[in-house]
């Protein structure tokens, strides 16, 4: 079975959900989400049986790289995060219903819910395609498929001002960054005369390349990618959008959208890094952006009181570590060193596990805990030990404490910086990691050290599906934290 069938299957599944929503008289639309998750799980299993083409020629393959293990790994990440986002969306249903209810008489009481479950599938298809994109056009189209879906999802709570504000901000800045990206692509095409990454790489490596034009193209592309990644100084939209968007969408943004942006960055920056005349300047720029992102993300997270905002800044901080792995890419001459793609793939896998675990807890608690302030998690350990333990594991892993998968992500990135002799970058990363220690543990303090607030003792319900997902993620975080080979084996 050719690989691209998977994307078609996911799109078809999304369309089926929309049709079922429109024509079948469902009493409880949450079954749509269950159906979607089940379908994606089947596609996930198919990942292990697909084969690439015998000979890649013409047709759709022009836009599609041969399926190496790395792109399959990224497709798996996209599928896994979408499944978990759908599980979160089930928990989050009451809030979506309250904020989208249709006041007309006779309307279905869940009238606004169907698309909330179907749209993530289209984003997922875009993410999967992106992991195989090797042509500027297909990169652009898949990136926009994802972005446009997110514009809708972020603003989904139409009776909530915060959500609408987030939607508008995301739309305007997203459109602006798309503009930069296309302009950059145009310059890149002008410099190299090609839209295919392989021939772009060849052209850029020649001494005859015009460095000024190439650097200009790089700058434009980097601005656009920094927007998508949330890298400083283009990170300003992240906290507001993360805070305003519905929690499952925030989770999807912070994992899916970040994975996509990182992957595209890896694809687009690698040709520049492989080019002897440009590599020095490109590395310098990347180092500066990485240092800024590390420091801004982690220091701005220190005073945050809102949990979602804190996770937003933490996601900026993690972008910093991802960029660090890119900026410290080994020169081709160095034998036997860690490659950026390996480290980034591992880091993203780790980031997916721990971030989604945190968001799972958040959205599962949303009905029982009134606010999203850190203070409203006071005494959680007494009210629900499982939620508290899951959040503790997620925070420990995000902070990078050994024996969790987050440690190895940071460890690999540090190792690369040391191998590359980037001492400034290493120093910034150390300071950033130390700051992370503080603000992640702040959550543990609030959960474990204080008693629940007065009158705040509603029973916390746990949806069995969410419970299973939480336990599985916890186990994965710890197992991969002891034996990282489990994850590495998936893509190399």
């Amino acid at each position: 079975m050719p690989v691209y069938y998977l994307e078609f299957l996911v799109v078809a599944l999304g369309l089926v959900l929309l049709m079922v929503d429109a024509f079948a008289k469902l009493e409880d639309k949450r079954s749509l989400a269950r159906l979607g998750a089940l379908g994606l799980a089947v596609v996930f299993c198919l990942l292990f049986v697909v084969k690439g083409p015998e000979a890649a020629e013409g047709g759709i393959w022009r836009f599609y790289a041969a399926p190496d293990k790395l792109s399959l790994f990224f497709k798996g990440l996209a599928l896994l995060s979408t499944i978990l986002v759908l599980i979160m969306a089930i928990d989050y249903t009451p809030i979506v219903m309250a904020q989208t209810a249709n006041p007309e008489a006779g309307a279905h009481h869940q009238s606004g819910l169907g698309e909330f479950f179907a749209l993530p599938l289209f984003a997922c298809a875009g993410l999967m395609w992106m992991s195989s994109a090797n042509h500027l056009v297909s990169i652009f189209v898949s990136l926009e498929t994802v972005s446009i879906t997110f514009y809708i999802l972020v603003a989904y709570l139409r009776r909530n001002v915060g959500s609408l504000e987030a939607g508008v901000k995301y739309l305007i800045l997203g459109a602006l960054s798309t503009g930069f990206l296309v302009y950059g692509f145009a310059w890149l095409f002008g410099v190299t005369g090609s839209m295919e990454l392989t021939s772009i790489t060849e052209m850029l490596a020649k001494d005859s390349v015009n460095p000024t034009a190439a650097l200009f193209a790089f700058a434009l592309i980097l601005i656009a990618l920094a927007f998508k990644l949330g890298a400083a100084p283009f990170h300003l939209w992240i906290p507001d959008v993360y805070q305003g968007a519905p929690t499952p969408v925030t989770a999807f943004l912070s994992v899916g959208s970040k994975a996509a942006a990182t992957m595209v960055t890896l694809r687009l920056v690698s040709p520049f890094l492989a080019s002897a005349p440009l590599v020095g300047k490109i590395t310098a720029i990347l180092v500066v952006v990485a240092i800024l992102t590390l420091l801004v993300g982690n220091f701005a997270a220190l005073p945050q009181r809102n949990f979602k905002r804190l996770l937003a800044y933490s996601s900026i901080g993690h972008s910093g570590f991802l960029l660090m792995a890119l900026a410290a890419a080994p020169r081709a001459s160095v034998e036997n060193s860690l490659s950026s793609s390996t480290v980034i793939a591992f880091y993203l896998g780790a980031y997916l596990l721990m971030t989604l675990l945190a968001f799972l807890v958040l959205s599962s608690l949303r009905s029982a805990i009134s606010g999203e302030e850190i203070d409203s998690y006071r005494g959680l350990a007494k009210r629900s030990p499982l939620h508290a333990a899951a959040l503790l594991v997620a925070m420990a892993s995000l902070a990078g404490i050994p024996l969790t998968v987050g440690f190895f992500g940071k460890f690999f990135a540090f190792k690369m910086a040391i191998d590359a002799g980037q001492w400034g970058l290493l120093g910034a990363a150390l300071v950033a990691a130390a700051a992370g220690f503080y603000y992640y543990l702040k959550i543990a303090v609030s959960m474990y050290f204080s008693d629940p607030a007065e009158g705040d003792n509603t029973v916390i319900r746990l949806n069995p599906l969410t419970g299973i997902a939480m336990v599985v993620l916890m186990i994965l975080i710890l197992v991969a934290g002891i034996a990282p080979g489990v994850v590495v084996g998936l893509f190399s």
Binding site: L403, A444, Y448, F449, G485
Partner: protein
């Protein structure tokens, strides 16, 4: 699964069992007694005459990736780690035994016992691991449980602040250490995390001198922060004063020794030239530990704070033994780690018992309680004498070895380390001053009228204190009990080392 793997994973499995719902105290007690029995079993079956090399070794490869050192879950014991695993077993049993009954714990008793098991298990794992990564990671395992234990179950108003202080100090120390370790592994080719292979590489093709200087400095500061090296000691005394007694026993008695162990096992063999280069800095700082902190200890007005500072102070002797850089000095340091671990655990256990019964630990509010509480008085007296280092206790044997080691040499001129040794000797006097003064005003003299003495130590409490005391006395009268393991191991270490 080999015996040693079983020994390492037992506390961790027990912690999981407690977390899932097994009866907390029963499981924890059973697991810790089994750990001690396994440790004793290892000691009996240990081939003491073997120099160098690990016994009970096991290894499972976990990650082989180009550009990254080979990672394996590997354990093994030599004489040094055997002694420390024995120490961990003894203190773990005593600490779990002394922990309050489930019904007396305010808050979750499961979390309490789970954390104790994780702290103990982390320490044992760190001492038994022969893979650099796991040696580091197991120590970190104890970080969050310690944080939670002090913050939730600690004493006093400032406990949350104290929990933060210790966590940030240890966290930053670990980060510095991590950078040093990555640098060292990288400088040695970056192909393996196996400590023995790294040592062999460091002998075969030593790291450049200036790089060694940096690596040693980072490792020394990183490990030093974990051992409360002066001037990075300020986390220790408040943390031990405010932690629940079993945590103070485990942390001051066992976990803190990890830093010294790391210096002996990693910093010294991998960067010997760096150690030479920074010797004078080490000497100044260790004198800070012994003399300055000694004076600070004398000034303390509360028993728990005094004990906390005294444990910081005694680390100075261990640094001196390591700085001596010869077999006798390093053996003395290892023996002191064992002796100090037992004596400080004993003292913290007794102080915790007193805090529970009296409700305060201000030295001048006590007086003459040896009369109504003779058993407490006797045990505390023994523990205090051990801590001062009187003959008959393991501490004496250890300190004598350290001083001999540090003063050794044929030449008659005074080197810096000899001056430092003369300075350090005054520490013995300082310890006697604060310990005997505290003992006099708490246990001797007239009893204040307002002071109501509780019932004396129960059998259960006596049992765990006696376990520690008997071990201290046995090793004190026959240091050869442990020296037979330590000496060949240290000999082997020096043979395997460069230079």
């Amino acid at each position: 699964m080999s015996t040693l793997e079983l020994l390492v994973f037992l506390p961790l499995l027990a912690a999981i069992a407690v977390g899932v719902g097994a009866p907390a105290r029963f499981t924890a007690l059973g697991a810790s007694v089994l750990v001690l029995l396994f440790a004793v079993y290892c000691a009996i079956n240990f081939n003491a005459s073997q120099e160098g090399g690990m016994q009970f070794a096991s290894s499972r490869a976990l990650l082989e990736m180009p550009g990254f050192p080979k990672l394996s879950l590997a354990f093994g014991l030599d004489g040094i780690s055997l002694v420390l695993v024995l120490l961990s077993g003894l203190v773990l049993v005593a600490a779990v035994f002394l922990a309050p009954e489930e019904s007396e714990i305010r808050g979750s008793s499961r979390l309490y016992y789970l954390s104790l098991l994780l702290i103990g298990g982390g320490a044992i794992g760190a001492f038994a691991a022969t893979d650099l990564f796991f040696l580091y990671a197991f120590h970190e395992l104890a970080l969050i449980p310690t944080f939670l234990m002090i913050g939730i179950f600690g004493h006093g108003e400032g406990r949350v602040r104290t929990a933060w202080t210790i966590t940030i100090f240890l966290g930053v120390g670990s980060l510095v250490l991590l950078v040093g370790l990555i640098l060292a592994v990288g400088a040695l080719g970056g192909t393996t995390f196996d400590v023995a292979s790294l040592t062999a590489l460091a002998k075969g093709s030593p790291i450049g001198e200036s790089t060694q200087g940096w690596i040693f400095l980072l490792l020394f500061l990183g490990f030093g922060i974990l051992v409360s090296l002066f001037p990075f000691h300020s986390w220790a005394a408040p943390a031990y004063a405010e932690a629940p007694a079993p945590v103070a026993m485990l942390h001051a008695g066992v976990l803190k020794k990890f830093g010294l162990y790391g210096l002996i096992r990693i910093a010294m063999p991998l960067a010997p030239a760096g150690a030479d280069k920074w010797l004078n800095l080490v000497l100044v700082l260790l004198l800070g530990n012994i003399l300055y902190i000694g004076l600070v200890t004398i000034a303390q007005k509360r028993l728990d704070r005094m004990l906390g500072y005294s444990s910081v102070m005694h680390m100075g002797y261990a640094f001196l033994g390591i700085a001596a850089g010869n077999v006798i000095g390093v053996s003395g340091a290892v023996l002191l780690m064992f002796a100090h671990g037992l004596s400080i655990a004993l003292l913290f256990g007794l102080a915790g018992w007193m805090r529970d019964r009296f409700g305060f630990l201000d030295i001048d509010k006590f007086g003459g309680i040896a009369k109504p509480l003779p058993r407490l008085g006797l045990l505390f007296g023994f523990a205090a004498f051990a801590s001062i280092g009187l003959p008959g206790f393991a501490n004496f044997a250890a300190e004598v070895e350290i001083f001999f080691g540090a003063f050794s040499g044929e030449e008659s001129s005074m080197s810096w380390i000899r001056w430092a040794t003369i300075g350090a000797l005054w520490g013995v006097v300082i310890s006697a001053v604060y310990m005997l003064r505290a003992y006099r005003s708490i246990f001797m003299g007239p009893k204040p009228d307002k002071l109501v003495a509780p019932a004396d130590l129960s059998w259960a409490a006596r049992l765990s204190f006696l376990l520690l005391l008997v071990a201290l006395l046995a090793v004190g009268f026959a240091p050869e009990l442990l020296n037979q393991f330590i000496r060949p191991a240290v000999n082997g270490l020096f043979t395997a080392m460069a230079g």
